[in-house]
Amino acid sequence: MTLEVMLKTMGIGMLRTGGIFCLTLLGSLPLGMIVALLRKSRIKPVQWVIKIYISIMRGTPLMLQLLVWYFGPYYLFDLPIKGWRYPAIILGFVLNYAAYFAEIYRGGIESMSVGQYEAAQVLGYTKTQTFMKIILPQVIKTILPSVTNEVITLVKDTSLAFTLAYQEVFSLAKQISASQTSFIPFVVAGIFYYVANYAVAFVMERIEKALDYYQ
């Protein structure tokens, strides 16, 4: 295998890794907010369910969760496993990260002073307006550093998709390295993750800077 072919193959793996990354964020960032709001629901059973969900997501390895999502429907309900690999991966990642993001959002929301809510209420803002216009923008600013950490972790966590034999960068690096008895694929993969995280940090810093106009 020439270096060119190797890089090309791994390039495809990189795109797949990018796909997991993007879909996970796309799903878990908003879902996390819904989870965070449900966590504060006035209906007790909803609160309990959410609490249990979050604690399971955080208390068990993501690798195990992926295996459960993939094999669970097959073993438990006899559902066909064919074509289920990719949905299972995305489902596993989204649900796991939504739980982490929900906790970050919750911390951010709870850090807002009651004075902000009271000022908005006296001025006649509706609950929705208060949340969207007054609370959420401030929450986003305060949680941004924690979100950055989580996103960087996600870049690295995407490699867990290899558990389900999905051919993203990490799986391919392992395979190619074994078949070609070469160390280079690991170096390539390492550089890829590093650069990706560098880009994430860069973008997040930009966003943080853009929100720096107030305290």
């Binding site: 002073s113 902000q116 000022a119 209420q121 006296v122 001025l123 216009k133 401030q138 107030y214």
Partner: protein, 251 residues
Amino acid sequence: MHILDIQNIRKSFGDNEVLKDISLTVDRGEVVSIIGPSGSGKSTLLRCATLLETMDSGTLRYMDEDVAFMDENDKLVYTKDLKKVRGYFGLVFQNFNLFPHYSVLKNVMDAPVHVQKRKPREVKEEALALLETMGLADRADAYPCQLSGGQKQRVSIVRALTMNPEILFFDEPTSALDPELTGEVLKVIKQLAEQSMTMVIVTHEMAFAHSISDRVIFMDGGVIVEQGTPQELFEGTKKDRTRQFLQNYKR
């Protein structure tokens, strides 16, 4: 017609009865100060009047409209149209509670535009004029974190005023300020009094209360102990409790 009409309101937090049968009316153009020791229920009274706290019993009316009243079964009910009621009053907080992510002008304009649905251009004109009279003309584009405490409080007064309330409540508007900054805020409130703004002011500034008020209310232990003109209360009080409080204050 009374702007504000409170009758027999009671409020407890658990076993702690904080307001014990308080009645109070405020008429147009009146400036009423509320004084009293810490924990006497002054803030709670304002918070009940501004719907931040729900009272246990009693009636609350603005502009002769029922806001909270007792039904046939002697149960307290609040009117459904709270939005309209909130348009009648403004509240200035001790610690301002400006929105930090909004500029001064946006802090002042946002609610009139998005709550009252007034025309932005018209609101802006009014807001800028008000900022001007409060000596804040050059701070319209600043963010709250760039302002001094006194400026913050003046902005929050403008924010309340731009809603065109019938009555303005103040809960210790200068207590969070450095002593050298209280003057500028008190001056602004005095200006409003001269323009016949109806106001209820909880304050620990006795000289200020004396000079600005049409009526002073002394509260203690959840009841109104005494009320009257500043002269009646500060100089000729008939109650020992009031005298004691005022004397402690002088020292």
